[in-house]
C-alpha cells in the first residue's frame, strides 16, 4: 500500500497536467504556424507529393515501369497520351516520376531518421557531459563537419554498395554523412537547457543522467530537432538525387535521380529529349523546396529570435 498525502498530487494528476500543457503547446504552435503563408504553402505541396507517392499504384500502372511492356515509341515528345513524353524504352516519363517519388521520399526520410538519431544522441551527449567526454564528441562532430560531403558519400557508397542492397547503401551513406549539422544544433540547445535552474533542481533532487536527459533536455531540444528534420529531408533528397545521378543509385528501384542518370547515360540531350531531363528535375526542385519551406516556417515559429526577422 502506498500512502499518498492528500495535498501532493498523484502520478495520474501530474500526468494529466503535463498532457494538458503539451496539448496547449501544440495548439499555440498550430495557431502561429497557420498564419505563416510560406509554411502553409509548403505543407500543402508536401502533402500532395506524399499522397502521390502513397497512391502511386492507383495513379499509374506499374506495367509502365517495365522495359519489356513499354507501350510507347522510344523518346516520344509530350502528347495527349504521354503527357510528359517517353524515355528510351518507350516508358511514359509520368509513370516513372510517380513511382520514382516513392523511392526518393523513402530514401530521404529513412536517411533523415538515421541522421536525426545520430545527431540528437551525439549532440546531447556532447552538451550534457562536461569535460573531456563531451569535448571528445564535440571534436568528432567538428571533424565530420570538415570532411567534404560528396567525396565522402561517394567513397562510402562505392564500398557499401558491394555489401548491402544498393538502396540501403544509399540510405546509410546519406544518414551517416549528414548528422554533424544536427549534432551541432542539438549541442548548442542542450547547453542552454543545462544552464536553466530546473535542471539544477533535478540534479539537486538526485535525478540521474537518464532522468535529466529524457525528462528535461530531450523535450526542450525536440522542437528544434523537428524543424531541423524537415530541412534535413530536403538535403537528403538532394543528396540521393546527386548520388543516383552519379550512378550509385539502384537501377531496379528508380528514383528521380536514377531517371536523370539514365537520361544522361542514354544521351537524352543530343537526342533532343529535353522532357526526359526537365520533368524529373522539376519534381526534385518542387519537393525539396516544399520541405525547405516547411522547415523554415517551423524554425520561425519555434525560434522567437527568428520571428521578427523577414
Amino acid at each position: 500500500m502506498t500512502s499518498v498525502s492528500p495535498l501532493s498530487p498523484t502520478v495520474e494528476e501530474v500526468g494529466s497536467v503535463v498532457w494538458a500543457r503539451r496539448r496547449r503547446a501544440v495548439g499555440d504552435f498550430w495557431r502561429l504556424y497557420r498564419h505563416d503563408r510560406e509554411g502553409m504553402l509548403g505543407l500543402i505541396v508536401m502533402g500532395l507529393i506524399i499522397l502521390v507517392a502513397i497512391f502511386a499504384p492507383v495513379l499509374a500502372d506499374a506495367n509502365g515501369l517495365s522495359v519489356i511492356h513499354a507501350t510507347g515509341k522510344p523518346i516520344e515528345p509530350p502528347s495527349a497520351t504521354y503527357w510528359l513524353g517517353t524515355d528510351f524504352y518507350g516508358r511514359p516519363i509520368l509513370t516513372l516520376i510517380i513511382w520514382g517519388s516513392r523511392i526518393s521520399l523513402i530514401v530521404g526520410l529513412a536517411a533523415t531518421v538515421i541522421s536525426m538519431i545520430l545527431g540528437t544522441f551525439l549532440g546531447i551527449f556532447a552538451g550534457h557531459f562536461p569535460g573531456w567526454k563531451g569535448g571528445a564528441f564535440n571534436k568528432l562532430t567538428d571533424w565530420f563537419l570538415v570532411i567534404p560531403f560528396l567525396p565522402l558519400a561517394i567513397a562510402l557508397a562505392s564500398i557499401f554498395g558491394t555489401k548491402v542492397p544498393r538502396l540501403l547503401a544509399v540510405i546509410i551513406v546519406i544518414g551517416i554523412t549528414s548528422w554533424p549539422g544536427t549534432a551541432r544544433l542539438v549541442r548548442a540547445q542542450t547547453l542552454t537547457v543545462e544552464a536553466r535552474p530546473y535542471l539544477e533542481r533535478a540534479k539537486a533532487l538526485g535525478g540521474g543522467h537518464w532522468h535529466q536527459v529524457t525528462r528535461h533536455v530531450l523535450p526542450n531540444v525536440m522542437p528544434l530537432v523537428l524543424a531541423n528534420t524537415t530541412l534535413t529531408v530536403s538535403v537528403a533528397i538532394l543528396a540521393e538525387t546527386t548520388l543516383a545521378f552519379l550512378g550509385l543509385g539502384d537501377p531496379l528501384h528508380a528514383s528521380w535521380g536514377t531517371i536523370l542518370h539514365q537520361a544522361y547515360a542514354q544521351d537524352a540531350i543530343s537526342n533532343g529529349a529535353w522532357w526526359w531531363v526537365v520533368f524529373p528535375g522539376l519534381g526534385v526542385v518542387l519537393v525539396v523546396r516544399a520541405f525547405n519551406m516547411v522547415g523554415r516556417a517551423l524554425e520561425r515559429v519555434l525560434d522567437p529570435r527568428l520571428r521578427e526577422r523577414s
Binding site: I154, A155, L191, A195, L238, T242, F245, G247, L260, Y264
Partner: protein
C-alpha cells in the same frame, strides 16, 4: 521561499548561436599580430584532424573491403602473380593492424598511392594532371558568385521586405533547392544542344579545331559550367550577407553615422557593409576548401577534365586506389583552408582576437 522573479534572474550560459557583444573597447591597442600560442594551437588541431582523416581513410579503403589486394586489383586486372605478391607485401598482408597502418603511413609520406588501373598511371600523377582545370573552373565560379552574391545580399538586406528583397530572397531559396548539375543539363539543352540555340560548346575543355586563341576557346567552354556552379554559391552568399546586413541594420553606430548627416548610401557602404562582411569571409574560406570537391557533378555533366570528372571515372570499376587518393586530397584541401580561415579571421575581427 524563492520568488519566481529570482529564479529568472539567474544568469544563463551565453547562447553559442548568438554573437558575443563587442569587446573592442577593452582591447583598444590594435595589435595586428597573433599570439604564437594561438597559431600553434590551431596548426596542431589541423594536424590532428589530418591524422584523423588518414586513419579514417585507412579503415575505409584498406580494412573494410576485406582483402585489399583484391579491391586494389579486382577481377583479374592485375594477373601478374609477381606484381600481386609485391603489392600484398607493400600493403602488409598478414601482418598485425598497427604494422599495416605503419606501412600505409610510410607509403603516404613518400607520395606512393598505388596505381590507378582506370587511368593507367600512378594515382599521384593522375591527380596532379587534373587539379588545375578544377581550380580554374571552380575558382572563377567562386569569384563571380562572391561578387554577385554580396551585392544581392547587401541590397536586399538593406531594404528588407522591399519588392527587390522578396524577389531576391525567394529566388535564392529556390536556387538552393536546385541540383546544380540538373541546372547544368538545362543550360546545355537551351544554349548548347543542336535542338537549342547552339551558341556554346556542349562539353569539354577546349576544341583543337577552334579558330579562337587557346585561352578564349577555354573561356568559351567555361561559360556554361561556371554559370551552373555560380548560381548555387550566389544563393548561399546572398542569404548570408542579407541576414548579417539585417543584423547590423539597427546597430547604434549606424544611428550615429546618420546623425552625422551621412547619406543612406554612405551609411551602408562605409559602415554597415564592412561589419556585415565578416560571416561572408568565413564562408569564403570554407568554400575555398570545397572548390576542389564542389565541382564533381558539374565536371561530369560538362565533361570538364578536372578532379570531379576523375572521381566520377573512378566510380566505374570502382577504382579504389584512385578514390582513396581523391578523397585524401579533397579532405586535406578543406582542412588547410579551414586553418587559413582560422588564422586570418582574428586579424580582421577584433572580437575574435579579444575572446
Amino acid at each position: 521561499m524563492t520568488s519566481p522573479a529570482e529564479t529568472t534572474d539567474t544568469p544563463q550560459a551565453p547562447d553559442p548561436l548568438l554573437r558575443q557583444p563587442s569587446q573592442t573597447g577593452v582591447n583598444r591597442g590594435r595589435r595586428r599580430t597573433l599570439p604564437l600560442k594561438y597559431i600553434l594551437n590551431k596548426t596542431f588541431s589541423a594536424l590532428v584532424l589530418l591524422l584523423f582523416v588518414t586513419i579514417f581513410n585507412f579503415f575505409l579503403f584498406r580494412i573494410m573491403p576485406g582483402d585489399p589486394a583484391k579491391t586494389f586489383a579486382p577481377r583479374g586486372r592485375n594477373d601478374n602473380p609477381e606484381a600481386l605478391i609485391a603489392m600484398r607485401k607493400r600493403l602488409g598482408e598478414g601482418k598485425p593492424l598497427y604494422e599495416k597502418f605503419f606501412l600505409y603511413m610510410q607509403n603516404l609520406f613518400k607520395g606512393n598511392l598505388e596505381t590507378s588501373y582506370s587511368q593507367h598511371q600512378s594515382v599521384a600523377s593522375a591527380i596532379g594532371d587534373r587539379i588545375w582545370p578544377t581550380v580554374l573552373l571552380s575558382g572563377t565560379a567562386l569569384v563571380i558568385s562572391v561578387l554577385v552574391g554580396l551585392w544581392l545580399g547587401t541590397r536586399s538586406g538593406w531594404r528588407h521586405g522591399s519588392r527587390f528583397d522578396r524577389m531576391a530572397s525567394g529566388s535564392a531559396l529556390t536556387w538552393y533547392s536546385v541540383p546544380e548539375w540538373w541546372f547544368g543539363l538545362i543550360l546545355i539543352i537551351i544554349f548548347a544542344s543542336k535542338s537549342g540555340l547552339g551558341i556554346f560548346p556542349i562539353a569539354g575543355y577546349s576544341d583543337p579545331n577552334s579558330s579562337l586563341p587557346h585561352f578564349l576557346d577555354v573561356a568559351n567552354h567555361m561559360v556554361l559550367p561556371v554559370i551552373a556552379l555560380s548560381v548555387v554559391y550566389i544563393a548561399q552568399y546572398s542569404l548570408i550577407m542579407r541576414s548579417s546586413i539585417i543584423d547590423e541594420r539597427y546597430a547604434e553606430y549606424l544611428a550615429t553615422a546618420r546623425a552625422k548627416g551621412l547619406r543612406d548610401d554612405q551609411v551602408m557602404k562605409k559602415h554597415a557593409v564592412p561589419n556585415a562582411l565578416l560571416p561572408s569571409v568565413t564562408l569564403f574560406f570554407l568554400s575555398l576548401g570545397f572548390v576542389v570537391s564542389g565541382a564533381i557533378t558539374i565536371e561530369t555533366v560538362f565533361n570538364w577534365p578536372g578532379l570531379g570528372l576523375l572521381s566520377e571515372q573512378a566510380l566505374s570499376g570502382p577504382d579504389y586506389p584512385l578514390l582513396e587518393g581523391i578523397f585524401l586530397v579533397f579532405s586535406a584541401a578543406v582542412i588547410v583552408m579551414n586553418l587559413i580561415a582560422d588564422l586570418i579571421y582574428p586579424l580582421i575581427d577584433p572580437r575574435v582576437r579579444a575572446a
